[in-house]
Symmetry: C2
Subunit: 428 residues, 2 copies
Amino acid sequence: MDLQIGLLGCGTVGGGVVELTRRRAEKIEAITGRRPVITHILVRDLAKQRPVALEHEQLTTRVADILEEPNIQVIIETIGGIEPAKSLILSALKAKKHVITANKDLIAVHGAEILETAEQNGVSVFFEAAVGGAIPLIRPLKESLTANAISDLKGIVNGTTNYILSKMTETGADFDDVLKEAQELGYAESDPSSDVDGLDAARKLTILATIGFHAKVRLDEVIVTGIRAVTAADVAYASEIGCVIKLLAAGSERDGVISLNVRPTLVPKAHPLAHVSDAYNALFVRGDAAGDLMFFGRGAGSLPTASAVVGDLIEVLRNIELGVSGNEPLIRLQKVVNSKLSEPLKHYLRLSVEDKPGVFAKIAGIFGDSDVSMETVLQKRVKQGGAEVVIVTHEVSPVQLESALLALQAEQSVQEIHSVMPVEVAGG
Amino acid sequence: MDLQIGLLGCGTVGGGVVELTRRRAEKIEAITGRRPVITHILVRDLAKQRPVALEHEQLTTRVADILEEPNIQVIIETIGGIEPAKSLILSALKAKKHVITANKDLIAVHGAEILETAEQNGVSVFFEAAVGGAIPLIRPLKESLTANAISDLKGIVNGTTNYILSKMTETGADFDDVLKEAQELGYAESDPSSDVDGLDAARKLTILATIGFHAKVRLDEVIVTGIRAVTAADVAYASEIGCVIKLLAAGSERDGVISLNVRPTLVPKAHPLAHVSDAYNALFVRGDAAGDLMFFGRGAGSLPTASAVVGDLIEVLRNIELGVSGNEPLIRLQKVVNSKLSEPLKHYLRLSVEDKPGVFAKIAGIFGDSDVSMETVLQKRVKQGGAEVVIVTHEVSPVQLESALLALQAEQSVQEIHSVMPVEVAGG
């Protein structure tokens, strides 16, 4: 029996969904009893070239053609962005249609409203493709790992920044040059801000933390630092102390307090996340029963994203066959979010200082006064009248670090604090 | 509302299930509407010390106390092995009780019979814990990745052998010494055969291949080579050519032909599986839409295994609440299994040869006659009258390799062929 589907948008992801749905129609019918058929596709411009050759799918610019078609039971949204995607999804849910979306921007900010609307209308909304592309993340967190209290979620969830940092590590080039190359190759947008300033990663962290910690967390509660300030020098020093620099989206829960940070982080080469390079994504999870887990795979792309969308589609078709909505109750426990209260971590600092006797003693004194002990100190690359000092501290609390940084800024012989980045623990 | 559970066995895994079910009872009730309570535990000896302090759970040696208790809707089996576990599970299913098991031995050999019995009785059987301990593998393969045609499943699925090979790599010690140490530390059984001879990995590969390839595969169709013959010399040579030796359980499908092999394999250090060390497990999956994925985590242990069992329990409770069995139709496509037809791979060979002029030309001639080209040749460690030669070939088919090995054996100047192992492709 055919099950009719309406697709919103027919760009890179939408084209992949059309292709993969066709390719797997027979198998999906064998599994679910229903043959998925995309009958209508909402587009803005009927004349535009599509990434996939259309067959029986009917293009339309009128959403009513889809929402008022009673035979369409499932809507797949691949437009992206907040509007018109949000209004379209809410209308679809109110029209009692199940919704599958890859829209991380929307779910990160309006996820609660969308899930509530689905619940009220007895239909489901799935969004596996919103985080980590092809990697099964949302469902394992929601289902397989539910028996765990999750203390840590650490992810490389943005392919563009991971590609840039990987290339900087491989070639020794500086950020600007690698970004330019990535833009020419189509790996980075002409306006790369959402990726390189960390907002995309913060959105994904918001979604993961909501599910993994069973908490209400807001995008604006994530402290975000992008990768623009990471220099070739930082990459080289990191390597010297056995680390690679990654943009980590890190959520932790300690005693009911959740901390959410996106920031460039030194990851020791022995850590499983250190080997996630180029356009790959990965999520590291620590549960009280499961211990340490990692999920790794392609975080973007037409077919990888479609893999997750069509995986959700199969789940929706099963639920339709079983006559259940498939929604799971939203367990939202009362928890505090305070991202400044992240746990003590080692930190990497790179400073320019005056190259004269006694300076180092002053710096050591400042760290001692803030009760910060140093693990590694490298003094290097003496320039005219100045030296560069790299310090790796032992674990410091955010308050201790703040205090040391303020004192360093006030110290005359410290010319500039170039970089301050946390250092991940080797074992995870 | 309470949901009563009968537990079969109270050893390491059973104790973990008791502890974790208690720890998460409240959360599970919030999610599923039912509070899980283990009321009865089947044991052989009532007086034996248990790994967990029992509270309200009632020990019994009579299975009828559990199977005839109408309030018990779910049975968790943690006894292991074929009998009596098989009879108990079949009886439980016929008594219309849902079954969760961590029993890889049983599912690998009698999985089809058990699934059919569950289907006939309108109840479900889940076994996430049977492969990869805490790592969600079965459900992602069955659900999230269903939209993919999977071509490759490559796993490190046995913690004991991975521990031994990791220690050999770290310390340079030989197999026998590391095995003895692992036995003293409790990481290897006093009879280590099931682990070190690869049978445990073959059982897990059988389960993964059945699900991933949607095929009927039998345990005896897996070609199995254990790790007893891996020497410190092999480990050192592997390192010299940028590889680590891992016991890989590898299943592939090419044009409808499935090949299943468990064997020590040289894994390039750039491959994600190379960094899976000690007691960790990992599964690498290649799908036509998703591309390359990897799942990583603890493959054994009391709470990690319980994490998977209780994850399954939550699924069963949800299904009970929804009034559905939760079984998925068994899609078993007609496919051929021929494990000798594995695809061409590079191979590592280590030979002892006579140390005299012309020997190397003869060896090169033999490879040439079998149409096998060589990528790397190391000639080393000359002993009295003999030399050791290490060869890495370019990709060879199993037939080509067989032909070259036969000719090498017939060649007088080749004293012994010590090792023949495939070399994994760097990218996966």
